[in-house]
């Protein structure tokens, strides 16, 4: 390769990077200048709340331009570990009362700030074209179904196993049903988002997750099938203010907004059942 062609290649490479940087700058600048006086509020949020909390935070920031909500999404257990290890967080939204109670027990959460703000039901999720022709829970035990579920450690995986156990206890299905379903599992997912992604891509035929896990963007690609209440495990979502937080008042105000009619409307849009505190 001659010197001039490699120079052209170098120039092209630099130009591409410069364009991307420029695009990035112009995209972020208005947001930075629009809110001159930002007070950050760090909210550790269970991954299943990703869509709803992003919208709630946006709505809250519009109404309260002085507060900047920083959302940190991960599994509830990972967030709990981070808080135990001293991560800076103001508010904790858990997908499981177990982790909230554990943090309360360790004195890391302001006790009277804790309350259930939403409930959630398990649902069956299949790709839109449903190649395996799944219509209900009973189809999951058919041989050859590619099934995904949460790991037994994460709340939605734990609830899935509880639901399967309820079916196994029902003489209409029996333990063979549960064993057949478990034999169809191709992957145990650490987060709901990675589970829904695999169904959306058509790489799995079915999965079980929270009804809320199907976002508006996903709805064009996947279908949700309700699981009867008798087998369902209804999840409770508690929130609590972190004791170490230096922004107790701001955290309380935002917590109140989540439970307000505005917050509740967004929560139900994402498949949650809002709970009055």
């Amino acid at each position: 390769m001659t010197k001039s062609t490699s120079l052209i290649a170098l120039a092209a490479g630099i130009a591409i990077l410069a364009l991307l940087v420029a695009a990035g700058c112009t995209a972020t600048q208005p947001a930075e200048t629009a809110v001159p006086d930002q007070n950050e509020l760090v909210v550790f949020t269970a991954a299943s709340l990703t869509g709803a909390m992003t919208d709630i935070a946006k709505a809250y920031e519009t109404a309260h331009p002085n507060t900047k909500i920083v959302l940190n999404f991960d599994g509830s257990q990972a967030l709990r570990t981070q808080i135990e290890q001293g991560a800076r967080a103001d508010l904790f939204l858990s997908a499981n009362t177990k982790h909230m109670m554990a943090l309360q027990g360790e004195g890391l959460i302001v006790n009277d700030s804790v309350g259930i703000f939403a409930k959630n039901k398990l649902a069956l999720i299949v790709p839109k074209d449903n190649p395996a022709g799944i219509t209900g829970l009973l189809d999951l035990s058919r041989p050859g179904i590619r099934m995904v579920m949460g790991t037994k450690e994460v709340p939605f995986g734990d609830y899935t196993r509880q639901a399967l156990q309820k079916m196994a206890d029902d003489p209409a299905c029996g333990p063979e049903y549960r064993d057949a379903v478990m034999a169809n599992v191709i992957s145990e997912e650490p987060t709901v988002t990675s589970l829904v992604a695999k169904i959306r891509l058509g790489e799995a035929d079915a999965g079980i997750a929270y009804a809320s896990d199907v976002s508006e963007g996903d709805r064009a690609f996947v279908t949700t099938i309700a699981i009867p209440d008798q087998y369902n495990v209804i999840a409770s979502y508690p929130l609590g203010i972190v004791r170490e937080s230096v922004a107790q008042d701001r955290a309380a105000a935002f917590a109140e907004y989540i439970s307000s009619p505005d917050g509740a409307a967004i929560l139900s849009r994402y498949g949650f059942t809002p709970a009055g505190r």
Partner: protein, 273 residues
């Protein structure tokens, strides 16, 4: 050679030497403290107990087997690429060079997504494989493919540099004496470049052993089938913290062993020259 090295190390005024010593000390502490913290949290009894845990054993053996196979595949496919890129000029060489280096800068999750789009049941290639009844995604083969994809540049780069460092004079001499190109390659070039080739292979093995992002995306997470050590560590972190820590320590110990192997090889090379 060693005398000039010694002089460079001895030269310099005191403040400079203190500054350098401080920087070195901070760098060592920065890496050493987290490792020490990890080791201190796991008493030997817990480590031994966790070695009885089927989750730990499955993850350990799956990791070692897949990383071993991945390394062999990378050596098989990477050696010719490394050699022609070190020795030959051909059209498109820069493109081949860039493509083989790309996985280093690609986030592993992106690599996993790309592999899924290519070889998944509905992927670009995978949909046709599916018709033939061949399944790749979410199998142990997918684990190996993810590792090969992410870890191959470490071998190819190192081997290419080593081949480039072998003087053509020896190769020409061998050819003049009647050795064929393959015989020249295996009895002259490879022995002269062996240190670089081996340390490249060891780095690839280590990177394959630590692979997480591409694996969980493309191969999924299923104990005994696709759950390698990094996946088991992350999974256990959500529940059994002890198992997670024990696995982490085992991974650190293996990594230490890998680095010692590289160091020994490099020292041997320095002694030889």
């Amino acid at each position: 050679m060693t005398q000039t090295m010694d002089r460079i190390c001895r030269r310099g005024n005191l403040p400079l030497r203190i500054l350098i010593a401080t920087l070195v000390g901070l760098a060592v502490l920065f890496i050493g403290i987290p490792l020490a913290a990890l080791l201190l949290r796991v008493p030997p009894a817990l480590l031994l107990a966790s070695l009885q845990d089927p989750v730990v054993l499955d993850a350990l053996s799956l990791s070692l087997v897949t990383a071993g196979i991945s390394t062999i595949i990378v050596i098989g496919f990477g050696t010719p690429i490394a050699y022609i890129n070190a020795r030959c000029q051909y059209p498109g060489k820069k493109i081949i060079d860039t493509i083989t280096d790309l996985p280093v800068v690609l986030p592993p999750a992106v690599a996993g997504l790309a592999l899924l789009m290519a070889f998944g049941h509905r992927g670009l290639v995978g949909q046709y494989l599916d018709l033939l009844g061949i399944e790749i995604a979410f199998t142990t083969i997918a684990v190996i493919m993810a590792q090969v994809f992410v870890a191959s540049p470490f071998y190819i780069r190192q081997a290419r540099t080593s081949f480039a460092g072998v003087s053509r004079v020896y190769e020409h001499a061998a050819r003049t004496l009647g050795a064929g190109p393959l015989r020249t390659f295996f009895s002259i070039t490879v022995p002269l470049a062996i240190t670089g080739i081996l340390s490249g292979a060891v780095m690839t093995f280590a990177r394959a052993l630590g692979e997480f992002g591409a694996t969980i995306m493309f191969a999924g997470n299923l104990q005994g089938k696709t759950q390698t050590m990094p996946l088991a560590i992350y999974g256990a972190l959500q529940g059994d913290m002890d198992a997670s820590l024990a696995l982490a320590v085992i991974l650190v110990v293996i990594s230490f062993a890998v680095i010692i192997v590289i160091k020994t090889l490099t020292e041997k090379e320095e002694a030889d020259t």
